[in-house]
Symmetry: C2
Subunit: 97 residues, 2 copies
């Protein structure tokens, strides 16, 4: 299994509406990209100081399935239209499990 | 459910032995902290450029269970003895699912 993990911080100018749109649009992807075996996305819960603002954890059966997701036009559209306009920093890891 | 996610980059001076010890020590924690429902840890798979070096994803039934893990002496010992000596940057999010 491959687990793909991304954490974002948003710009100070990012609006609540823009942030909510990221979640709404990402949550459409499991219906569009069948290679996604599990998909958890959302804003930081606010328990600790100094955290990033947002997380994506996506599980796949194989590296090839992850690459289908990474490069899928529907995924790339969410990145271009909803994430890139408000992202300040991005941290990512892919874990082989 | 609470999903706790941490990504690290290691210092350039970090040795392969030090990095391997982080995984070995973290993997002891599920046997010591029963609040851990699922625990995936490990080094980045090397698929993409620019990634962080290491990921921890820990699942808990509740925020209280996460806090037991966060503050548990066995966890704090791994952080102090094995992670802090080699960490360059850290990014974290807790997701409520």
């Amino acid at each position: 299994m491959i687990r793909h993990i991304v954490l974002f911080t948003w710009t100070e100018a990012a609006t609540a509406e823009q942030k909510a749109a990221v979640t709404a649009e990402l949550r459409k992807l499991p219906g569009l990209i069948p290679q996604l075996r599990a998909y958890t996305v959302g804003a930081d819960a606010g328990i600790n100081q100094g955290n990033h603002d947002y997380a994506v954890v996506a599980d796949f059966d194989s590296v090839d399935d992850y690459l289908v997701y990474r490069d899928h036009p529907d995924h790339q559209k969410v990145i271009a239209e909803h994430i890139k306009p408000i992202v300040a920093t991005r941290a990512a890891v892919q874990l082989e499990l």
